[in-house]
Symmetry: C2
Subunit: 696 residues, 2 copies
C-alpha cells in the first residue's frame, strides 16, 4: 500500500527493520505504557504516573493507520491531529471548486463534517505478553524456517485476537526488545473518520520546506477530525484541553506512535546505512524531488497534483540526510564498534552465554555483505512499484499469496490483513495520469541506470521499450485508476489476474516472479538472519543489563505502537546562539514576506489587529520522538493537552539512531495558539468551546 | 566562464585544488613530457621514446580551452577530438532547420566548414622551469600575503611570456608537485576552429547515460575539426593515422590533458570529500538532473534545450559517485592516515626537516574544519552563478577586479586572461529563457533550503521574493543574452556596471559584496593555507623520495596540461566475468533495441549489410587517464594514432584519487572503426583519404 511521508509521519520501510533495547539517559526513551520509567521520573521530576493517569492517556490516544498519531479531545469523538496527517483526506474531498487543502475546511454542524476516504483510526485497547508462544513456535529455527514459523504463530495469534470481528478490532504482534519480549496489541478500529476543521495549508505549513525540521517555527499544523460509529459521534475517554499551553521548564509528555528507531544497530549495519543505503535512498529521493519540482512549475494543476508527493519527498530527504550527517560524524559508528566488541567479549567469557548467543555479529556482517550486493537493485525496483503501482503489485502478489496457507504467506498478506488491503484498494484516491507517467518513467529510467541495461530484471521490465514510451502506454491503457476495477481483480483472485489484459497487470505479472524472488532472497538471506542475530544481540544485552541491575533503564526500539515519552519545555544552543523555547504571533508576522512559502493566508493578515501578538504559537521540548509521532498530543502532569507535536528540529533527525539531550528537540503547536486562532481567526467558537468544555 | 562537463572533459573546479606527487606503480602516471619514465618503460616494454618521438607527439597534440584534449591528424590542420567536445559548437550552429548535434555535420569542401563560436585550441610550444622566481617571490609568506605574492609573480611571468601578443600566445603557470616545481607553459593559440564532420549523437553516444562509464561500449565519439589562421588551414606536425587500430596487449600511449587528480590528499581532506563535499555535490547535481529530466519531457524543443546540460549533469553524478564509492570503501582513507602519520614522523625525526616542513597536517585539519562550515553555502551560491549567470557575475566581478593593480586581482582576472574572458562574453551561445528560468529558480530554492531562510546571504539574494517569481522576472528582463550587451558592459567597466539597470546586473551587483567576501574567506583561510600546507607535504614527500632514491618513479598530479600516459590494450575482470578488450560492429547491432538511447541512426541501420561486422569498434587499455583526457589520441610505439579516448570505465572514476591497474581502464574508439565508418556509412571518402594520406 502506498504511504505518504511527512514531518513525523512514519517513514516507509525502505530498510529492513532492526529493533533493539537501549539504555536510557535523561529524558531519553519511548516507553511502552506497561513499563514506564517511574523511578527515573520520580527522581528527576518528582512525579509518578498512577494507574488511572496511565489508563486515561492510553484510552485518549489514537493512531492513524496511514502513519500518524492523534488524540481524542472531547467526549463527542473529536480528534486532534496534524494538518499534514489529513493532507490526503483534504485532497480527496477537494474538487474543481474547492481546494480544502489550500484554503482550509470549516464546518458549523455535524452534518457538514465529511468522511475521509479510506482513513482508519485505531485506539489501543489491550496489551498482552505473548513472548512464550512465540519463543515456543520459533525455537531452534533459522532462515526460511524461522520466517515461516514466525509468520505462522503471528497469523494464529492475531486471528484469535480479532475473534472474527475485523470490522471492530485490529491486532498487531509487536516485537519488543527484538524478541526479548513479544506483545500482542489489540486496537479498537474506527473506519468512519470525518474532517471537522482544517486551517489553510499556508498557516499549517508556514515557512514550507525551507523551515521544515528547523526552528523557530510559526505553524498551526492542526486538523480536527471526528470519529463516528453507526452514524453518531463515538464516546471515548478524552484529554481535557488546556487553553493556556505549557510554561518554560514544565514537565511534559507525548503519547504517540514513534515509527521506528534503530538505537542498537551493530556497527557494520550502521556502516552499511552510511555507505550504501542512505546515499542510494537520498539520491533516489533527490532525483524525484527535482522531477516533481519541475513538474509543479508546469501549471497550477500540476503544482496541486504534485504538492503532496513533493512535500513527502522533501521530508524524506531531510530525514535521511539528517541521519546520514549523524552517521558521518563518525562518532556513533566507532562507539558502536566498541560496544559490539564488548558485548561479544561478554558473551565469549562464559560457555553458557556462548551457547545461548553465539557469534551474532558475524552473522550480521555476512547478511550485510549480501545486502550490499542486493540493495540498489531492490531499491530501484521498489521505486517502480510505489504509489499507484504499488496497488498493481499488491493485486498480483496478493493473488499468489492467497493461494498459500495463511501461515506460509508473505508479511502483509495474512487473512487478518486482507480487509485492510481491500479497504486500501477500494479507496478512491486522486489519479493524475501525467504525474503517474512521469513518475513511472523516472523509476524505469533509474532502474536501468542503476542495474545496467543488460541486467535480466531490467530486460524483463523494459523489454525493447524506452522508459518514457513504456510508462506512457501503461498509464494510458490501464483501467486500475478505478477502485471498482481494482476490487474486481482482487476479488477475482489469481484467475482474474491471469486473465486480465490491463497493461499494468500484464506488466506486473511479467515482473512478479523476479520481483518476488528478489524479495524472498532479501527476506531469507538478509532480513531473517539479521532479525535472528539481532534478537540474539538484544537478548544478550538484556541479560547483561539484568546481570548488572540496569533493566529499569531499558526501553524497546520504536515499532509504530503507543509509547510515552517525557521531557521539558526547553530551548537549545544552535551554532553558538540560544534558541528560545517559544515563538509567538508577533514572530510569525515578522517572518512573513508575502511570497510563498512565507505568505500568510488572508484570514491571518486580516486578523492581525484582533490577535494578542504575544500569544505562544509553537514550542520545543526535550521529548524523545521520531517519525510516527506526528499528531501526538503534548500533555502536562495533570494529563491535559497543552500542545500538538508536528515536527522535530534538525538534530532530532538522528533520533532514529540515538538521542542527544543537548540538541534533540520536539516541535509542537501550543494549545493557546489553537484556541486563539479558532476564536479570533476562524470564528470557530463552537469548536473552541467543545475543546474547552470537553463536549459539544 | 561556464564550463560543460562530460565523460572525460575536465570537471569544473567545485573543490579547492590539491596537487601532490605520487609514486607510480605499473602503468600508473600522467607524465610531463620533460620527465617521462624512460627506465620503467624500457624495463616493462623494451621501448624508450627518443627526443624526436617526444617532440613529434607534443607538437601534434592540442588542448581545447573548454576542457578537452585533441590531436592534429593531417598536415592541413585537421583535428580529431570527441563528439562530446564539440557539443556546444554543434548546438550553436544548429537552427530550426538543422540539428547538427542530433543528425551530424558533414562537409564536402573547405567552404562548407563552419567556425565554432568561441572555440579555442592551444598547442604546447615550450615548457620552462620557473620554480626559482616563484620560490623567491613567495618565500616566508603565508595566508593572504602568500596568495598576493603568488598572484603577482604569476601575473608578471605570464605577461612577459605572452610578450604583448595574446592573440597568438597563451601562457600558464603550472604548479607541479604542488610547488615542488613550477613550470611556465607557452601555448600557440588558435581561435579559428571549424567543424569538418561530426556523426550523429545516436552513434557518438549510443547507449547514452545507461552505458556511460560502463563497458562494453559501442560508440564513435568523434568530431573532426580544422584549425585556420588567416583564413587558411594551418600547417603543423600531425599524427599519422593507422587505419588498423591496435591489437590486444599492444603498448599504447595517450597524449592529453588530464584535468585534476588528488592522489596524495591528506586523510582529513579525503574524509572531508567523503563526508561533506561529495554528498553535497551529488545532491545538488541529482536535484538538477531530476529537474532537467522532467523539463526535457515537456516538449521536443525543451528536450533539445536541456540535452547538453542533462548529459553533463549525469556525467558529473557518475563521476562524483564513483569517487565517493572508492572513498567509502574505507581503505584509501585509512591507508592515507598511515601514510600521513609516517610522513609527519619522518619530518619530526630531524630538526632541519621540522624547520623546513613544520606540522602541515595540523594546518590541513584546521583549514578543513573551516571549509566544513563554509562549503554548503559556497556551493549553493556557486550554483546560482553558473552557466549563463556566470557571465553576469563575471561582468560585475571583472569590473571590480580591473580596478585593482594586476598583481592584486583574483585568479582569472589578470591582464593576460582578459582576452579570454572577452572572447567568452562575446560568444553567441544559445539562450533558452524557459531553461534559464527553471535553472535559476531551482538554484535559488536550493540556496534557501541549504542556508536557511534567515541567512543574510539568502535574504540579500531573495529579498522578499519567491525563487520562482524572482527567477522569472530576472530572466525575462535581462538583455544579457545578447553578446553585444555583455561586451558593452564589459568594455564600459565599473561605471557601466554601476549605471546598468539590467535586472540581472542589479541582482549580481547586490550580491557581489557578500559573494566576493565569501570567496576571499575561502581563498585566504581555506585554499591558501591548504595550498601552503600541501606544498610543504609535497616537498617533504619529494625530499623523502630523493633520500630514498625514488625520484624517477614520481609524477605530478594532473593540472589540465599536456601529459603522456602509457599502458596496454587489455580487458579486466568485472564481477567475476572477463571483459574482452575490444567490441565490434556486430556487438553494436546486437546491443541496439530501436528505443532511445539504444536506437541506431538510420545511416547505421542502412549500412549494416555493407559493413565488415568484425571491425573493431571500441577498446579498453590500462592507460591512466581522468577528466580532461576526452579527445586524447591513443598512439602506438611508432607514434601513430590508433584510437581516440572518450571515456573510462566505472572503476576508473576513482582515478582522481588513486590508480588501480586491476580494474581502471581507459575507453577509446578504434581508428579502424573511424575509417570504416567514414567510408562505408558516411560516404566521407575525402576525409578518410586525408586521414590515411596525411593531407587533403
Amino acid at each position: 500500500m502506498s504511504q505518504a511521508r511527512s514531518s513525523l509521519l512514519l517513514s516507509s520501510a525502505l530498510l529492513g527493520a532492526f529493533a533493539f533495547a537501549s539504555t536510557a539517559h535523561a529524558d531519553e526513551g519511548m516507553w511502552t505504557f506497561d513499563h514506564l520509567p517511574k523511578a527515573a521520573l520520580q527522581k528527576a521530576y518528582g512525579f509518578t504516573p498512577d494507574a488511572r493517569w496511565i489508563q486515561h492517556v492510553v484510552q485518549s490516544s489514537a493512531r492513524l493507520a496511514e502513519g500518524c498519531s492523534a488524540s481524542f479531545v472531547s467526549g463527542d469523538g473529536l480528534v486532534m491531529t496534524n494538518h499534514h496527517c489529513a493532507n490526503s483526506c483534504l485532497a480527496a474531498l477537494s474538487d474543481k471548486d474547492h481546494d480544502y487543502f489550500r484554503d482550509g475546511f470549516y464546518t458549523r454542524d455535524l452534518a457538514d463534517e465529511r468522511q475521509c476516504p479510506g482513513m482508519e483510526l485505531d485506539r489501543l485497547d489491550t496489551m498482552k505478553d505473548v513472548s512464550d508462544p512465540v519463543a515456543e513456535a520459533t525455537r531452534g529455527k533459522q532462515g526460511a524456517a524461522y520466517s515461516a514459523a514466525l509468520q505462522e504463530v503471528e497469523s494464529k495469534l492475531t486471528k484469535d485476537c480479532i475473534g472474527g470481528d475485523d470490522e471492530h478490532w485490529r491486532c498487531d504482534m509487536v516485537p519488543l526488545y527484538h524478541g526479548g519480549q513479544t506483545a500482542l496489541y489489540r486496537y479498537r478500529r474506527y473506519k468512519d473518520v470525518r474532517v471537522v476543521m482544517a486551517p489553510e495549508q499556508g498557516i499549517a505549513f508556514f515557512g514550507g520546506d525551507p523551515d521544515n525540521f528547523d526552528y523557530p517555527r510559526y505553524d498551526i499544523d492542526l486538523s480536527m477530525l471526528r470519529v463516528y460509529e453507526g452514524g453518531k459521534p463515538v464516546r471515548t475517554p478524552f484529554l481535557q484541553f488546556d487553553p493556556n499551553g505549557p510554561k518554560a521548564d514544565d514537565l511534559v509528555f507525548t503519547s504517540g506512535n514513534p515509527g521506528r528507531t534503530q538505537r542498537g544497530l551493530p556497527a557494520s549495519a550502521l556502516a552499511f546505512q552510511r555507505d550504501v543505503a542512505n546515499p542510494a535512498i537520498i539520491s533516489a529521493l533527490t532525483l524525484r524531488e527535482g522531477m516533481l519540482w519541475q513538474y509543479s512549475r508546469e501549471s497550477a494543476e500540476h503544482e496541486k497534483q504534485a504538492e503532496d508527493a513533493l512535500f513527502s519527498i522533501q521530508n524524506g530527504i531531510k530525514s535521511y540526510s539528517g541521519t546520514q550527517a549523524a552517521l558521518q560524524s563518525g562518532d556513533i559508528v566507532s562507539r558502536r564498534v566498541k560496544e559490539d566488541t564488548a558485548l561479544q567479549a561478554w558473551i565469549d567469557a562464559d560457555p553458557a552465554r556462548r551457547a545461548a548467543y553465539g557469534q551474532p555479529f558475524r552473522t550480521v556482517d555476512k547478511a550485510i555483505a549480501l545486502e550490499k550486493d542486493l540493495f540498489s537493485r531492490n531499491l530501484a525496483i521498489g521505486m517502480v512499484f510505489r504509489g499507484f503501482l504499488d496497488n498493481v503489485m499488491t493485486l498480483v502478489e496478493g493473488a499468489h499469496e492467497r493461494q498459500k496457507p495463511d501461515a506460509k504467506r508473505h508479511a502483509g498478506y495474512h487473512d487478518a490483513q486482507l480487509g485492510e488491503i481491500e479497504t486500501a484498494l477500494a479507496a478512491k484516491e486522486p489519479f493524475y495520469p501525467d504525474l503517474e507517467t512521469a513518475s513511472l518513467a523516472l523509476s524505469l529510467t533509474s532502474l536501468r541506470q542503476i542495474a545496467g541495461a543488460d541486467d535480466p530484471l531490467v530486460r524483463l521490465t523494459l523489454g525493447k521499450e524506452a522508459p518514457d514510451a513504456l510508462a506512457a502506454s501503461l498509464i494510458k491503457g490501464t483501467k486500475l485508476s478505478d477502485p471498482a476495477a481494482r476490487l474486481a481483480l482482487w476479488k477475482g483472485g489469481l484467475q482474474a489476474i491471469k486473465a486480465s489484459t490491463d497493461p499494468l497487470v500484464v506488466f506486473a505479472r511479467r515482473i512478479y516472479p523476479s520481483y518476488t524472488a528478489l524479495h524472498d532472497k532479501m527476506r531469507d538471506e538478509v532480513s531473517a538472519p539479521l532479525h535472528k542475530a539481532q534478537g540474539d544481540i538484544a537478548r544478550a544485552r538484556f541479560a547483561q543489563a539484568k546481570a548488572e541491575g540496569r533493566l529499569d533503564a531499558l526501553y524497546p526500539d520504536a515499532t509504530f505502537s503507543p509509547r510515552l515519552s517525557y521531557g521539558t519545555v526547553k530551548g537549545w544552543r544552535k551554532n553558538g546562539v540560544d534558541v528560545a523555547p517559544f515563538t509567538d504571533f508577533a514572530g510569525m508576522y515578522g517572518h512573513a514576506t508575502g511570497a510563498e512559502p512565507f505568505a500568510l493566508p488572508k484570514r491571518w493578515l486580516d486578523a492581525k489587529t484582533r490577535l494578542p501578538l504575544s500569544t505562544h504559537l509553537d514550542f520545543v521540548s526535550t521529548n524523545d520522538i521520531v517519525g510516527g509521532n506526528s499528531g501526538s498530543p503534548v500533555l502536562n502532569r495533570e494529563g491535559k493537552a497543552v500542545g500538538l507535536i508536528f515536527d522535530g528540529n534538525l538534530p532530532s533527525l538522528a533520533g532514529d539512531l540515538y538521542y542527544d539531550i543537548s540538541n534533540n528537540r520536539a516541535v509542537a503547536t501550543d494549545t493557546s495558539a489553537i484556541i486563539t486562532a479558532l476564536k479570533l481567526v476562524y470564528n470557530e467558537e463552537n469548536l473552541a468551546n467543545e475543546l474547552t468544555n470537553g463536549h459539544r
